[in-house]
Amino acid sequence: MNYITFGRFTLPADLLAAFAAIFIGALIYRAKEKKSIDDWYWNSFFLYIAVYKLSYAVFNFKLFIDTPFSLLYFNGGTEGQILAYIGIALYLYWLARKKGNTIKEYLPVYFIFFLLYWTGLFAFSQDYLATAIQTVLLLGFILFFFKNIKLAVEYAIFFLMLEALILSLFSDMLSVENLLIFALGIYLIILQRFNKEEIQH
């Protein structure tokens, strides 16, 4: 992991990459759909941050009781991240049950966000070859998105595999952070597929 220092703060590169991806992702969605992205997008990030942060108190309960303000500076680490992803998965499932029309947006938006995120991470680590290749994949997906091609299961798996290959070559595909992202992707593919079958019946 890279850490970038701005004056009085040192921020991890993944946080910066994620924040950039959140806003650029929303802009790309807006450019194509001609409307703002739905609440589920922002709620997912809020949920992630809330669980990731608050789980610090759960995993370091004694430290938290001794110095409650430490919650300001720290987060729940890897375990917190796992909980946060589970939280997002449950939230999206619940939302899909409640109003099924958002479900087709999950996967394309998932790809736009994480492809942006990884491009940012490679750029921050100043690995220019990886950044360039990742950008090509990102642009490829955006083109796909703008052409309104339906993101069928096969295409989704294809894009996931391309990403897995890039991470295998330039980063660590098997790190917990990356595996969690892939798990979420596979979960969304299953969710979309499952939902389609339900409609057909």
Partner: protein, 195 residues
């Protein structure tokens, strides 16, 4: 794209990913070994004597200092060559420093045997006196070395204006990273590369 072609592409990708991941660990290890020492020697020779700011760059040798510790010993930073060092700057009145201390203690207890040393320099000239520092150290049960920067020399040299500020030094006393703000165990682990 044809569905069959797509399925074939997916299958082919799966094989390539498998091959890359199995073949990779050995190759990156040897890459790191060959590039790291070369990088270091280039960086250290670039160091211009007397240019204070540039001597704090990542990749430059950490400026040496000699300080008395809280328990009355005298230490020099250069005594710790051969070990990775987390050089931390703190004061008792600083909330993020307080938040960081238990994490630093946990990290120290767990990884001290892996040649990682923690030097938590107290900015004594800006703190409330040695007694207060002693009380703090006892309260938090800190067992790593606490050098006392009574003149404020080390703090100034290392530009510890916003605290906590930490420098990660490698075995050759070269700065690998400057971190402003508190760290937890995970971050210290990533930065020092302990397993």
């Amino acid at each position: 794209m044809n569905k069959n072609l797509l399925s074939f592409a997916i299958l082919a990708l799966a094989v390539v990913i498998l091959v890359v991941n199995i073949w990779k660990p050995g190759s990156t290890e040897s890459e790191k070994n060959t590039t790291a020492p070369a990088g270091e020697s280039v960086e250290t020779t670039e160091d211009i004597p007397g240019a204070k700011l540039s001597s704090l760059r990542e990749g430059a040798e950490a400026p040496d200092f000699e300080l008395n510790t809280l328990d009355g010993k005298t230490i020099k930073l250069s005594d710790y060559r051969g070990k990775k060092v987390i050089l931390n700057f703190w004061a008792t009145w600083c909330p993020p420093c307080k938040a960081e201390m238990p994490h630093m203690q946990n990290f120290y207890e767990e990884y001290n045997d892996q040649d990682v040393e923690i030097l938590a320099v107290n900015l004594t000239n800006m703190d409330k006196g040695a007694d207060e520092v002693k009380k703090f150290v006892e309260e938090y049960g800190l067992t790593f070395t606490i050098p006392m920067d009574e003149e404020g020399y080390a703090g100034t040299t290392y530009q510890a204006f916003t605290i906590p500020t930490s420098y990660i030094l490698d075995e050759n006393g070269v700065i690998t990273k400057k971190i402003v703000g508190p760290m937890d165990e995970k971050m210290m682990k990533e930065l020092t590369g302990v397993k």
